[in-house]
Amino acid sequence: MLRTALRNVLAHKARLLMTTLAVLLGVAFVSGTLVFTSTISEAFQRSSERSLSHVDIAIQPDGDSEAAEAAPGGAANLDQALLDEVGALPNVAEAIGDVSGFAALADTEGDLVGSGWDTRGANYYAGQGGTGTDSRYPMTEGRAPGAAGEIAIDAHTAERTGYQVGDTARVSVDGPVREETITGVFTTEEGSVAAGGSLVLYDTATAQELFAKPGEYTRITLAAADGTSQTQLDEAVQPLLPADAEALTGQQLADDQAEMIESQTSGMRTGLLAFAGISLFVGIFIIANTFTMLVAQRTKELALLRAVGASRRQVTRSVLVEALLVGCVAGLAGFAAGVGIAAGLRALMESIEFTIPEGPLVVSGSTVLASVLVAVVVTMLAAYLPARRAAKIPPVAAMNSVHAAPTTRGLLVRNTIGALFAAAGAALVVAGINRDDSGATMGLGAGLLVIGVFVLTPLLSRPVIALASPLLRIFGVSGKLARLNAVRNPRRTAATASALMIGLTLITGLTVIAGTLSQAIERMAAQAISSDYVVSMANFAPLNPEVAETLAEQPGVTGVSGLRASPALVADRTDSDSLTGVNGEAIDRLVTPDFTAGSFDGLSGDNAVIDTATADDLGLTLGDSFDVTFEDGQPGRLTVTGIYEDSEVMRGILLDDATLDPHMERIQDFQVMVATESGTSDETKQALEAALGDNPAILVQDEADIAEDIAYIFTLMLNMLYGLLAMAVIVAVLGVINTLAMSVFERRQEIGMLRAIGLDRRSTKRMVRLESIVIALFGGVLGVGLGVFFGWAVGEMMRGSLATYELVLPWDRIAVFLALAGLVGVLAALWPARRAARLNMLDSIKAD
C-alpha cells in the first residue's frame, strides 16, 4: 500500500502543490516563531550574562521593590556608608555604587534618540576617591565625566547621532533641558544598549542628584576576590544589610533575568503560535478539499482495489499514507522556510531600531520535530474524513460510470446539526453579554456558532450566492455559468469560503472592537479634560515641578496644575493608596469630572475631593473626615469637599499641592495640565514647547493630539494583528486557487465544449474569475457578518465598564474587507482562469 500511496502522491504532484503550500506556510509560521523566539531569548540571555560578569553580589532595595518604594517611610538607604562598609570586607575585590534612571538624549536634530523607553542615564563610578576607572564602561575616546555638566555616551549612540567628544548635547532627566558636554565615548555590555537603547553617564554626584538623592545609590555591586565564592561573599554581606535591602548573588540575578526574559519571550511565542494555529486551521479546509477531490477522481480505481480484495481499512490507510507523505514534505519544507522567516524577522527588527543583541540563529532539534509533527498531524487529521469516505466506495462503483452522490438525508442531518449549533452559539454569545463569567460563556458560544456556520455553509451557499445573480447577469452567460458552477459542489465551495471566512471574521471582529474602544476612550479623555494642554514625559516618567512653574509663568497661561502622586495609607485600609496633589486654585479650570456632591471649590488645606468608588468604599459623604498616613509617615485628617464620578482618566483622592508637598520625599508631577487664554492653537503649543526648551523628551499635547495618540496606539495594534492574520488569508487564497484549479480540471470537457460552440477565451476566463469572486465574496460576507456580530457582542460586554461606549461600525473598513475578498477572488483566479482559457478544446472534449 505504501508504494501505491507514494505513486499516487507523485502522480498528483501538481494537484497536491497548493495543499503542500498551505501546510508549509502554517508550519513555517510555527517554526519561524520557535526559532525567532529562542534566538532572541538566547541573545538577551547571553547579553545579560555578559553584563553581570563582574557582579558577584548586588545589593538593592528589597525584592518587591515597587511595594517597598511605594510604602510610606521611604526606600532602602543604599548610601556611601554602606558602600564603604561592604567595600571594606576582606573578600571584596571591587565595590561599585550604581545609580541610574531615565535620561533622554536629543540628537543633533533635537529629536529623541531611541524609542524613549530604553534611554537611560547612570553614574560613572570612579572608585572611592573618585580617581579610578569604572571597569564596566571602558572609554574608547576621551575621558570619563568628572563634574556636573559633563557626560559620556555609549559608542552605539555616538555612531547613530554623530556626536563627537567635545560636542554639546541636550539631555533631559525629569523635565528641564540640560546642556552637557560630551567628554567621552565608552563601550558597554549593558543589556538596554545592546537592545538599541542609549546610555548617558554622569559623574556619581550628579547622577545621584538626578536619579536618587545625594549620597545614595540605587544599587551596589560587589566583585569577589579570587577564591571567594558568591555564596561566601553573600554570607559576609548579609549582616551589614539595612532593613529594606536585599543582597542577591550574580547567579541569582542571572537566573532572575533569565526567567524574566523567558517569560517575556514565551508570552510572545504563545501569541505568535496562536496565529500560526489559525493559519494551520485554515489549511485544514484546503487539505480536506484536496483529498476529497483526489478520492472522488479515483473512485473507480479505489473501487477496483476493493473489488480485487482490498479491505476498507487498507483503502483508508492508503489515503492516510498519502497524507502522511504530504505532511512530511510540507513539514520539512515549512521548517526550512521558518528558519528563513526567523532570520528575516531579526533583520526587520534591527531595521526598525529594535536591536537584538548579537547571536546565532537558535535552531533546536525540538523545533524540527515540532514542525514535522504539526504538519503530519494537521494533514492526516484533515485527510481522515476523505479517507473514511474513500473506504465507503462500494466495489461495484468500479463498473458504474457514475458514483452516487451523497444522499440528501446526509445533508438534512448535517443542516439540522448545524442550525442547532449556530442557534445555541448565538444564544450563548448574547446571553454572555450580561453575565459575570461573560468571557467563558461568550467564548463557548462563539466556538459553537463558528462550528454551526461551518456546518451550515453548504446550505447557505445557494441562497447567498443566488443574491449575487442580478449582478452576475450583467456578465451574460459567463456570469450565469459562474454562479451555477459555484453552487455545483456546495461542500467544496463551503470549505473554500470557510477558509477565507475565518480570517475575515477575526479581522472584522478586531476592527470593530478596536474602533469602538478607541472612540470610547477618546471621548472619555475629551469629557474629563477641559485643560487646553497636557504636558508629560515621552515615556511617562515623572516631571520636575519646575516644569509646572515654568509653564505658569508663560504669558497667556491662565491655569496650571501638576498631578503628583504620593503613596499613603487611607483610613483603615491596609493596602497602600495614592493621594494626588493638584493645584487647588486652578484645577476647576483644568478637569471637569462629574460631581455627585460638592465641587473643587475650597480645595486647600485639609480639604479633599474623592471619587465615588472611594466614597462608597469608605462610606463617606460630603463633609465627612477621614484619616490618612502620608508618605513620610505623618498622620493627617482630610475633609471631603467634593465627590466625583471616577473614570478611566481620573480617579482617587485629590488634595492641594500645598498640603501634600511637605510630606513628599521627591516632588514630581506625572502630568501637568495647562489652560490658556486663547485655547489651543499651533502658536500657543509652540510657545509652550519653546518655554520648555524644545525638550525632545517632553510632550505638549492638546485634546486632538491625545485623541491621535490613542488612535495611533489602536491603529498600531490593529496593523500588527492584520499582519499576523494576513498569513491565514494567504492560506485561504491558496485554497481558492486550489478549488478553482480542481474545478477547471474536472470540467475540462465542459469547458472544451463551451469553447467549441463559441465561448471565447476572454469569456472563459471571466467565467472562472467570476466563480472565484463569488466563492471569495461568499466567504467574505460570512466572515464580515460573523465578525461584526462578535465585535458587537464583545463591545456590549464592555458597555458596563465604559460609560462612553457606543458601537462603531467601521463601514469604510468593512467595504475594504469585502473588496479585499473580491480581490482575493480575482488573484486566486489568475492561474486557473488562464489554464481554462488555454485548454486544448479537442483534447479536453475527448478526455475521459
Partner: protein, 259 residues
C-alpha cells in the same frame, strides 16, 4: 465575416457551404512528424448531408476539426461560406464557430448545470442574442423535447441528451452543422432517431450537415459519403446505402491489407 444568420435553404441549391483546397494538417516535427491531412480538396454543398468515413487514423476527424475551426491548418485553405479559416485569430475563429457553425459531439455535449432549454439556447446566450421563438419552437417540437425542456441533462436518457444537442445545433440556424460520431455512445434505436432528425433537418429545413462516423448504417442516412485513408480522399459515394458502404469498406480493407 458576417454575423447575420443565413436563412436555411429549402433545397439543395448546389451552392458550397464549406470548402477545402489542398488542406494539409501536420502534427509534430522531425521524426514524430505525422501528416494527418495531405492536400485534401473537397466541397460540402448546402442542404446536403455528408458523412465522412475512414479507418482509424485516416484523418476523418482531423478534416472535420479543421473545417469547423476547432483545429489550426498547416497549409492550404478551408472556407466556411466566403470566410477563409486559415490565419484567423482565436477570437475571430471563436465568433465564427459561435455564429455560423453548429456542433454535435459524441459525448459531453451538454452543461449539467443548465436545463435542456438553456442548453439549446446556449450558443445564442453566449452571443448575447435572443433566440427566434417560432424557429426554436419548431426545432424543439421536431426533436420531440417539448415536455422535457425544464429537465436537466442528468434527468434525461442518453438519446434524449443527444436530441437536446441536435436541437442546440439547429436552434441558432448555423450555416453548417458538424457532428463527431454523434451516435457513437447511443444504442441503435436512439442512434437511428438522431440520424433521422439530422436527415430531416437537411430535407425539410435545408440545413447543411457534415458528420464523421465509422458506422455504415449511420453513413447510409447521408446524401453522400466521403472516404478518407492516410489523409487523402479516396472515394466519394453519392446516395449511399448501408450495404454499399459496408461493401466499399470491406474492399478498401482488403486493399489496405494487400497493399
Amino acid at each position: 465575416m458576417s454575423s447575420t444568420v443565413a436563412a436555411p435553404h429549402t433545397a439543395s441549391t448546389g451552392a458550397v457551404a464549406a470548402q477545402a483546397r489542398d488542406l494539409t494538417k501536420v502534427y509534430g516535427e522531425g521524426e514524430t512528424r505525422v501528416v494527418a491531412l495531405d492536400h485534401v480538396s473537397v466541397d460540402f454543398r448546402q442542404a446536403e448531408f455528408t458523412a465522412i468515413m475512414g479507418p482509424s487514423g485516416s484523418g476523418k476527424s482531423t478534416l472535420m476539426h479543421c473545417m469547423a475551426g476547432l483545429d489550426s491548418i498547416s497549409a492550404g485553405s478551408a472556407r466556411i461560406g466566403d470566410t477563409e479559416l486559415a490565419g484567423l485569430k482565436d477570437k475571430k475563429l471563436t465568433q465564427l464557430r459561435r455564429d455560423r457553425i453548429g456542433f454535435i459531439f459524441q459525448a459531453f455535449n451538454l452543461l449539467p448545470t443548465l436545463s435542456a432549454l438553456e442548453n439549446i439556447t446556449l450558443p445564442m446566450s453566449i452571443a448575447g442574442r435572443k433566440p427566434d421563438k417560432p424557429w426554436l419552437d419548431r426545432v424543439v417540437s421536431t426533436v420531440g423535447l417539448a415536455d422535457r425542456l425544464r429537465h436537466r441533462p442528468g434527468q434525461l436518457s442518453g438519446g434524449q441528451q443527444q436530441r437536446v444537442a441536435v436541437a442546440r445545433a439547429l436552434a441558432a440556424r448555423p450555416e453548417i452543422i458538424f457532428g463527431d460520431e454523434p451516435t457513437g455512445n447511443l444504442d441503435s434505436r436512439a442512434g437511428a432517431e438522431i440520424l433521422g432528425f439530422l436527415r430531416n433537418s437537411v430535407r425539410e429545413l435545408g440545413q447543411t450537415v457534415v458528420m464523421v462516423t465509422h458506422d455504415p448504417v449511420a453513413a447510409a442516412y447521408a446524401d453522400r459519403v466521403i472516404f478518407l485513408a492516410d489523409g487523402r480522399i479516396v472515394d466519394d459515394m453519392p446516395e449511399p446505402t448501408a450495404e454499399r458502404v459496408l461493401e466499399h469498406m470491406k474492399r478498401f480493407d482488403a486493399k489496405g491489407r494487400t497493399s
